[in-house]
Amino acid sequence: MNAVAEVDAGSRVLSYAEAIREAMALAMEADPTVILMGEDIGVYGGAFQVTGDLIDRFGPDRVMDTPISELGGAGVAVGAALTGLKPIFEFQFSDFATLAMEQIVNQAAKLRYMLGGEASVPVVFRMPAGSGTGAAAQHSQSLEAWFAHVPGLKVIQPSTPADAKGMLLAALADPDPVLMFEHKLLYKMRGEVPPGHYTVPIGKAEVVRTGRDITIVAGAIMRHRAVEAAERLAADGIEVEVIDPRSLRPLDRDTILGSVRKTGRLVVVHEGVKSFGVGAEISAMVAESDAFDFLDAPIVRLGGAEAPIPYNPDLERAAVPQTDGIEAAVRAVMARAV
C-alpha cells in the first residue's frame, strides 16, 4: 500500500468498474503488448461496462471481441501470453470459466512447471463473480476456491476501487497467470482512487479495521458486510478486527495469524459455498499453526449455502452471508455459544 499512500494527493472518486478500466488503459498506453480479449468487450463495452469506451481509444485490434468460445478464447490468450503478449481476458461471467477449465488449469497453470521454468504465461483472467443480481444459478457463482486450489495460478479478489486498479496493474506486471475475481455488486461501488500507475501487491492482506476482541477475515463483498457488522458491534463494545485477504493464492498467512494471536477469536466469511472452501483453508491454516494456542473459542465459518444460487430474491439473499448473520456469528463466538 505504500505506493498508494505516496500518490493519495490526487485521488478522485471512481467506481470499481472505472478503476479497472483506468488500469487497463494505463497498461495499454504504456505497453503495446497488452491486449484485451473477451465477449462483447468492444462497442458493447462489456456486459458490466468495464471495458466501456476502450475500443474507441485502442481500436479493435487491441480490444478484441471474441466469438462465444470460452475454451478457445482462453486458449488463444494462453498461447499469446506464451509467445510475448500480455492478454487480459474477460470472462463475461466467471461461471463461464467452467467452459475453459482445460486451458486455465491444464495449460496456463502448469506450463511453466511442465517446461522446467522455460515458459511463462503472463495472462490475466478477469472473473465477474458473485450473487445478488437475480441472475440465478449459472451466472452467480463464487468459484475462486476452485482456482486457488491449483498451484501455478494466482487468485486475487480486490474489494475496493483503489485495490482493483492497483491489483490489476500488479497482475499485469506478474509473469504468472492471475485470475482477478470481481464481485459484480462492487462494480458500481465508488471510492477514492489514486491517479497514475501504482500497484497493490499480490499476496498482501489489508487490515481494514483494527480491533482487540475478534478477527473477521472477509474479502470481496463480504469485506463490506463485515465492516458494517463491526460498526454495529462496536456500539456494544465488541472491537472487531476486519482483514480483507485481497489475495487468496498466495494467501497472506502472517497478517491473518498475527491477528488471531492478538484477538484469540476468528470468523471467516465468504460467499463461495462453505464446504471445501476458502474458509476451510484459512481455518486449517490457523489450526495447524501456533495461533491455535491463542484461540479462546472455536473458529466459525460463514459461507454460501449448500445449494445453487436461487432466483427468488429472498432465497438468493438467504443463500449467502449477510450483515445480520455476520453480526450474529460474532456475538455467538464472543459468548462461546458455538
Binding site: 482462453a74 486458449g75 498461447g79 495449460q107
Partner: protein, 341 residues
C-alpha cells in the same frame, strides 16, 4: 497444349515436388531427421523395456514424413504446437536428442528439467511450444501464438500439429474459427493415423475426410498421403507460404499410421495384423530414401552413412541421459511460479 509440337515444349519436370523445390542438402538433412526420429523412438522404447524410463509414451514410428516435411519451411522463430505423440515434431523442429532422452529419463539436463517427460516435451528456443497431454490442448495455443505474430508484426508462422482424435474436440472448432475470422498465420496439420486410441476415424467422425471440416471455417483444406514426404512438403509448404503472406490459416490432413500401439498399455485389439503390416510396407523413410537415390540426390553409401549417424547420435544421447544428474527432490515446488526458484 496437345497442339504444340514436342520440340518447343519445355522438358516436363516429372520429379516429385520436394526434389524440384529443395536443395539436395535440405533433403538429405530431412532424411537424417527422419532416421533420427525412428532410432530415437526405438531407443526410447528399448530404454522403457529396460526400466530406464517410467510412466508411458506414445510412439510415432511410421509417421516420420509428416513431422519432418511439415516443418521443412519453418525457421527458428516460427512456432509449432505438438501433441502427446510429439517426439517427431520435437526433432523435426531442431531439438537435441540427448536433452530429449535426458527428459525421458527424468534428468535435470532434460528439456523440462525432468518435470515434463515425454508428454510435455518442449523446446522454446527452437520454437517448439510443447507437446500436450490434453487432446486438442495445443490448438487454441497455436492460434494465440499466431495472434502474437500478427499483433507484433512478425513474419512468424505457427504449425499446429494434432491427431485425428482432436478433430472432435470443441477446441478444434473454436480454434479454427478464430484463426479464420482473424486471418491468423497458422497451419493446422492433422496427422490422421486412423485411430484415436482404439476408436477409428470412421466410427468417431461424421465427415469422410477431416480436411472437409476446413470448409466450415472458410479455409483451404487438403488431404494428402502423409507417408509421402514430397506430398506433405508441398501441401504444408503451400499453406505456410499462404500464412506468411497474410492470407490466413489452412488445414492439411496427413493420412498416416502409427505402427506401434497408442501407448505402452495397448494390446492392439482394435486392428488386424494384416492392416499393420500393410502400412509397414509403406514405410515413409524407406520410400523417401528410395526417391532421393532414384533422383540422384543421394548414393546408397550416403544413405547408409545417414542411418548409421542416427544410430550413433541416439547411442550418445542415451549415454548423456544416463550420466546426467537427477533433480533434487527438495526442488519439488521449484518452477511453479517465476522467481520461486
Amino acid at each position: 497444349m496437345s497442339q504444340m509440337s514436342p520440340d518447343i515444349t519445355p522438358a516436363a519436370d516429372n520429379r516429385p515436388h520436394a526434389i524440384r523445390a529443395y536443395a539436395p542438402e535440405v533433403l538429405r538433412d530431412a532424411l537424417r531427421k527422419m532416421h533420427l526420429i525412428r532410432r530415437f523412438e526405438e531407443g526410447a522404447e528399448d530404454s522403457y523395456m529396460r526400466g530406464l524410463i517410467h510412466g508411458t509414451m506414445h510412439l510415432s514410428i511410421g509417421q516420420e514424413a509428416s513431422a519432418v516435411a511439415s516443418c521443412l519451411d519453418l525457421g527458428p522463430s516460427d512456432k509449432i504446437t505438438s501433441t502427446h505423440r510429439g517426439h517427431g515434431h520435437c526433432i523435426a523442429k531442431g531439438a537435441d536428442v540427448g536433452r530429449m532422452f535426458a527428459e525421458f529419463f527424468g534428468k535435470e539436463t532434460g528439456y523440462c528439467r525432468g518435470r515434463g517427460g515425454s508428454m510435455h516435451i518442449a523446446d522454446i528456443a527452437t520454437g517448439n511450444l510443447g507437446a500436450n497431454g490434453i487432446v486438442g490442448g495445443g490448438l487454441p495455443i497455436a492460434v494465440g501464438a499466431a495472434l502474437t505474430a500478427k499483433r507484433l508484426g512478425r513474419p512468424d508462422v505457427t504449425v499446429c500439429f494434432f491427431g485425428d482424435g482432436a478433430n472432435n474436440e470443441g477446441a478444434f472448432h473454436e480454434a479454427l474459427n478464430m484463426a479464420a475470422i482473424w486471418r491468423l498465420p497458422v497451419v493446422f496439420v492433422c496427422e490422421n493415423n486412423q485411430y484415436g486410441m482404439s476408436t477409428s476415424v470412421a466410427r468417431s467422425t461424421a465427415v469422410p475426410r477431416i480436411s472437409d471440416r476446413a470448409a466450415a471455417y472458410s479455409m483451404p483444406g487438403v488431404t494428402v498421403d502423409g507417408n509421402d514426404f514430397s506430398a506433405v512438403a508441398e501441401a504444408v509448404g503451400t499453406a505456410v507460404a499462404r500464412a506468411r503472406a497474410g492470407e490466413g490459416p489452412s488445414l492439411v490432413e496427413n493420412l498416416t499410421y502409427r505402427w506401434r500401439g497408442h501407448s505402452k498399455s495397448d494390446r492392439n485389439r482394435y486392428r488386424t495384423k494384416d492392416e499393420i503390416e500393410g502400412w509397414m510396407a509403406r514405410d515413409p523413410i524407406a520410400r523417401f530414401e528410395r526417391e532421393l537415390i532414384a533422383h540422384g540426390i543421394l548414393t546408397e553409401a550416403e544413405a547408409e552413412g545417414i542411418a548409421a549417424q542416427a544410430v550413433a547420435e541416439v547411442e550418445a544421447g542415451i549415454a548423456f541421459a544416463k550420466d546426467s544428474p537427477a533433480p533434487d527432490v527438495t526442488d519439488v515446488t521449484r518452477y511453479v511460479y517465476a522467481g520461486a526458484a
